[in-house]
């Protein structure tokens, strides 16, 4: 496993999917992430259709990186953590800008984790890291498998330590990820992956 990683240090983006219990999980993850983190992070957190985005600015206060809502046609840049807006699917274009869609819900969710993961896997292929955290829904399992099938690297929160185990367990059942760990282990592993310390 480690020998594979050495040859594969050229990651361009991280996508994260999280559902119920997500706010706490993201707080832990984002406050562990170094200011030197040099690739963009793109996140889908399941939220209600009318949610205000004030929770994003709360998260932003925890991190030296800029945490903001992803905007339509916005160029994706380093030093940023992007969050999908409420009631829209978030997708990625080959020119590394965002697209939004109001297509029907997927896995009862809009934004859907699978939609982001499929789209990101298509654009970034083996240069993508996918992370799936706590949740009570199977969204993200198929998308994480697609990331792996297209050569990306996948991490899943340990269902035993996740606030809600169903989502990470569904992903593990569908396709064994490259790494399973608690939130701190995931943060450490992520930093090692992108700084190529393996």
């Amino acid at each position: 496993m480690k020998s594979l990683l050495i040859s594969n240090s050229n990651y361009k983006a991280v996508v994260i999917g999280v559902s119920s219990g997500g706010m706490n999980a993201l707080k832990v993850l984002f406050s562990n992430i170094s200011p030197l983190f040099f690739i963009p992070i793109i996140t889908v957190q399941h939220i209600g259709p009318n949610s205000e985005n004030s929770w994003i600015s709360l998260l932003n206060d925890l991190s030296p990186l800029t945490i903001k809502e992803a905007e339509e046609k916005e160029p994706i840049s380093t030093g940023h953590i992007y969050i999908a807006p409420a009631n829209y699917h978030l997708l990625i274009e080959h020119d590394e800008t965002f697209s939004l869609s109001i297509d029907e819900k997927v896995n009862f969710a809009r934004p859907s984790i699978d939609v982001l993961f499929d789209s990101a896997a298509h654009v970034y292929g083996e240069s993508l890291i996918g992370i799936l955290l706590t949740g009570a829904n199977a969204d993200g399992a198929a998308g994480l498998k697609r990331i792996k099938d297209l050569g990306g690297y996948t991490l899943v929160e340990n269902p035993k330590t996740a606030q809600t185990p169903y989502m990470p367990q569904s992903a593990i059942d569908k396709s064994p990820p490259n790494f399973i760990g608690n939130l701190n282990e995931i943060s450490d592993h992520l930093l090692n992956l992108i700084t190529n310390k393996f």
Binding site: K73, S101, E104
Partner: protein
């Protein structure tokens, strides 16, 4: 299914084939959107690769029409985003009231729900009798549905909830007649809506429009096409005319931001500046 085979080149080839054989031009749609539809169609049809899908499109008109439908349908509902309709009543209606007659272009009306929502607001604000809503789409099937104005009761329940939250002054049921499973919009709401087939990609301007409503349509287009359509909108609006976009759409990432004043940032309502038209 060979996923890594679905390259941007292959997608471009597929869209070129659709255009050449059937005249529908999706070549400047956002690629992520097309990719999603292609993946979905591949998995529904059991076809193994995008090459085979493209072959099938060329050979089989019925199959092609399914993918064309996949690519063109956008989801819509009545009074989607209740805050937008509150802003429409509070900020936009007072401006429209200053005109002796009102021309509204609803671009990309799909199955009509938003056009009817606009008609209801105008009626409740006492402006409908002097208004005309030109509701356009390039999808004739959706347009026919819009014109019929028939929606299942299951959806009407959601629409009623949206209507009540959006500052509705009466009961949504005043505007339709329903039987056990569906509702038909009343003639009094239909009468000043003109449904027309218009293609934002290829067709030309409407003239002297006071308000353009185009919400969550341009998000499916790439930047080039968005700019082209914004050009069309700009030249269709009167000076001081209003442009309403979807809640997550903006003029920030295109060429037109300097030609509009932001009237209501959060609800994405813009006002065309009083300046010379641009070419």
């Amino acid at each position: 299914m060979r996923l890594n085979n679905i390259t941007p080149d292959k997608i471009a080839l597929l869209l070129e084939s659709i255009f050449e054989n059937y005249g529908y031009d999706f070549r400047q749609y956002a690629e992520s959107h097309v990719y999603r539809r292609v993946l979905n169609r591949l998995s529904l049809s059991g076809i193994g690769s995008i090459d085979q899908l493209t072959d099938q499109i060329i050979k089989d008109k019925g199959f092609a029409s399914m993918l064309i439908e996949d690519l063109s349908i956008t989801v819509t509902e009545m009074f989607r985003d209740s805050d937008f309709y509150i802003a429409l009543r509070e900020k936009v209606i007072p401006i429209l009231k200053t005109y002796p007659f009102i021309k509204i272009w609803h671009a990309g009306c799909s199955t009509g729900q938003e056009a009817y929502s606009m008609a209801i607001v105008l009626k409740e604000e006492g402006l409908y009798e002097r208004s005309t809503i030109y509701a356009t789409d390039f999808n004739q099937k959706a347009l026919n549905h819009a014109k019929e104005g028939i929606y299942p009761n299951k959806l009407i329940r959601d629409y009623t909830y949206n209507y009540q939250k959006s500052g509705g002054k009466h009961s949504l049921s005043n505007y339709f007649t329903s039987d056990s499973d569906r509702a038909i919009m009343n003639q009094s709401i239909k009468k000043n809506i003109v449904w027309a087939n218009h293609n934002l990609v290829t067709d030309s301007v409407f003239s002297e429009v006071h308000l353009i409503l185009c919400r969550n349509v341009l998000i499916y287009f790439n930047s080039n096409l968005q700019n082209k359509v914004h050009h069309l909108f700009f030249n269709s609006l009167i000076k001081g005319g209003l442009l309403c976009l979807g809640l997550k759409e903006s003029l920030r990432f295109n060429d037109f931001s300097q030609h509009y004043v932001t009237l209501f940032e959060k609800q994405r309502i813009f006002k065309k500046k009083y300046e010379e038209s641009i070419d």
